[in-house]
Symmetry: C2
Subunit: 178 residues, 2 copies
Amino acid sequence: MTKKRNSRTVYAVLGFLADKPRSGYEIKKAIDDKIGFFWSESYGQIYPILKKLVDKGLAEKIPANADDGRKKQFYKITDLGKDEFQEWLKLPADYNSIRNEILLKLFFGANADKETNLNHLRSFKESNQSLINDLKQLDNQENTGTYQQAVLAYGANTSKVSVKWANETINRLTKLSS
Amino acid sequence: MTKKRNSRTVYAVLGFLADKPRSGYEIKKAIDDKIGFFWSESYGQIYPILKKLVDKGLAEKIPANADDGRKKQFYKITDLGKDEFQEWLKLPADYNSIRNEILLKLFFGANADKETNLNHLRSFKESNQSLINDLKQLDNQENTGTYQQAVLAYGANTSKVSVKWANETINRLTKLSS
DNA sequence: AGCACCATGTAAGTGGTTACATGATTCC
DNA sequence: GGAATCATGTAACCACTTACATGGTGCT
């Protein structure tokens, strides 16, 4: 009974191919733009995986159009690919391997001076503030379905409390004597 | 100008050694118990890193006590190790490489049936509810400083909104016709 | 002409997990 | 006696990042 523990990247790629045929470059862009606030991938993963998906029959290459100026290589998910993807969707998500570096630094904050910690909190606050804006943008422009909207709402909620928490923590630290 | 991009595990280990001398086993336990909600490590990382820290002069072995029943191998951070750790604390945290699998599954939820998505939401809700309890426990029992308390508060805030969001999303989905 | 971005890929290196191996101690 | 937990480590494997290589297109 081995674990298998497949690469999550595979499913992120399959997910975007399930939406519509895409090139590797477009997949990367979609990941950055649409799920960037909770997911990231590199080309070094995407391109080899695309090849592997074709080998396994989970996706297939679409021959480039002649009148297509760019030399894009499109990929289309197969029925087998859809099955595989849907099987994965049913599996429980492994909550694990969460690593939040800014929390780690703050947790050990007593080892640094106050200004260092305040800087971390400020940059954390700023990144969450711009995230709020980005998500608002996304919510307006995109024709998202129920599930996408729910995920966006999650991002909006958590980033809002993050900003609030950062403000409170900054205030509390600032008042501190040391 | 190379990136260096050192292993974050090294600093998690150094951080707990900066608190007090510990064995590899105790470090793992401290990580699980105290920062488990935003960090995780495996023995396969910790023990080799402990050895590497000694090689680099960032930590040193403490010879086991004779009257110490268990054969624990303790490690103590050196001044050099403290310097290295404090330098790292000053560096900006790289917000990146965040990967939330449950959000990924929900984002692609339209490819699965409603019950699958509800299951993910329910288990997400439950894990956040037990997190709230765990954090309450931690906050009471431990003699934590300002920074630890702040991090705990962050965990409490985000897990509360997560539960709230999960409830709302579950309700909205349940009402949906399909 | 030059810059930003589009576009695809490979190679090297590393960070990290999982599985395996071994044995002591404590509690029921 | 047996299970849970304490305790330390190694080996194999793989997921992922970074750096490199190459060239096209569009804009100013």
